[in-house]
């Protein structure tokens, strides 16, 4: 373990907690009545911290796993997420969606923090399973009216850009101190996931 890891992780984790402690946090799936349209779709995933951290974690974990997971996970996630969205829109119930979303952040954050290199098939399976929860939550709350296609397009692009953000953070591992940064980001993600899990179980 690099000597500088813990202090940086600690700093990032503290920063994460400060963000969470900020008043009136904006949570995913809380907004209602948004009109459709590209911009609404683009902004929807970034409006909730639980969704954001999980999306970023997918990219980060992809970097930890290396190719081909680096690109396979971000390819698989939107597809399975959309499938979950389809189920949500059709009213097919999936139990424990909010718990699943929170666990996704916690689990993938820990994967990144401890640099767990799962086999590709297992990693894809884990990410896909979590993607169903995220998609279902968003699909069930997709606003009526507006332009569904542009909304969906914006939503998927935003999700992809969050994966890309995770990949870029992960790519910092090449630099001195970058590995600690990536693991610190994993720690923050895991903490955020834990907090949302506590809320979901409360």
């Amino acid at each position: 373990m690099p000597r500088h890891l813990l202090p940086l992780s600690l700093v990032l984790a503290t920063a994460g907690l400060l963000v969470l402690g900020a008043p009136a946090p904006v949570l995913a799936h809380a907004e209602a009545g948004h009109a459709g349209g590209f911009l609404s779709g683009l902004l929807h995933p970034v409006s909730g911290l639980d969704h954001v951290v999980a999306m970023v974690a997918v990219g980060l974990w992809g970097v930890v796993l290396g190719p081909p997971a680096l690109w396979l996970l971000p390819v698989a996630f939107p597809l399975v997420m959309a499938l979950g969205g389809l189920l949500g829109m059709l009213g097919v119930p999936i139990p424990g969606v909010e718990i699943g979303i929170a666990v996704s952040g916690l689990a993938m954050g820990l994967m990144v923090l401890f640099e767990i290199r799962a086999p590709l098939a297992l990693a894809a399976l884990v990410v896909a399973a979590f993607a169903v929860f995220h998609g279902h939550a968003h699909g069930a709350e997709l606003p009526s009216g507006g332009d569904a296609l542009l909304y969906s397009l914006g939503f998927v692009i935003a999700t992809g850009l969050l994966h890309l953000t995770g990949i870029l953070i992960g790519e910092a591992r090449r630099w001195r101190g970058g590995r600690a940064l990536a693991r610190g980001a994993g720690a923050v993600i895991a903490l955020v996931g834990l907090l949302f899990l506590q809320k979901a179980l409360a």
């Binding site: 971000p74 939107p78 597809l79 959309a82 499938l83 969906s152």
Partner: protein
């Protein structure tokens, strides 16, 4: 000024954004603001590119040509074809071919590019059926589609970077996911 009925620039059209700049601008705007057909064209171009840059250079024009032929058939139909979920499912399947990088036999690709575009265009054109400015709208849309497809094909054919194939697969997955969400929305709101 006397214009043939198909070229009236003043009537608001169903399923076409009214830009106030005439039917030609409405057609171009329709392609960009209701981009199902644009996504289809992009998916077809990406599919062709996955079979090699030479394949793309040789075949890209089949997409706008097929679209134009289909749209002309569609606009001549007596009424609109209401099969939007079917199109979304087809777009999902097509984009999945790209995202999973599934190779197609040359003949299948040769047929899929124009027929896929034409199939979508028949439905798209049928939305303009019975409207006096419908022909101008679909012609403008076909022209815009040809321009966009040509530019995209030219740019992508030059793409020689290592991450290019990955970016194409990612784009395919994004289109498939978008189409799948759209399908869900259409099934939820059948009207």
């Amino acid at each position: 000024m006397i214009r043939p009925p198909g070229w009236c620039w003043c009537l608001p059209l169903a399923h076409a954004p009214v830009t106030g700049l005439g039917a030609w601008a409405d057609g171009a705007a329709r392609l960009l603001l209701e981009p199902t057909d644009l996504l289809l064209a992009i998916a077809l171009v990406l599919l062709a590119l996955q079979h090699g840059p030479r394949t793309l250079e040789r075949l890209w024009w089949r997409v706008p040509a097929g679209w134009l032929a289909g749209a002309l058939v569609g606009v001549a139909l007596p009424r609109e074809l209401l099969v939007a979920p079917l199109l979304s499912a087809a777009l999902t399947a097509l984009a999945l071919l790209v995202s999973f990088r599934i190779p197609l036999p040359p003949r299948a690709l040769l047929a899929l590019l124009p027929l896929g575009a034409a199939g979508f265009a028949v439905v798209s054109g049928s939305a303009m059926a019975g409207h006096s400015g419908g022909l101008a709208v679909v012609l403008a849309e076909a022209l815009t589609l040809g321009l966009v497809t040509g530019l995209l094909a030219s740019a992508l054919a030059l793409l020689r970077v290592g991450w290019g194939p990955i970016a194409i697969q990612v784009a395919g997955s994004w289109i498939a996911a978008t189409a799948l969400l759209l399908l869900g929305w259409q099934l939820r709101h059948p009207s």
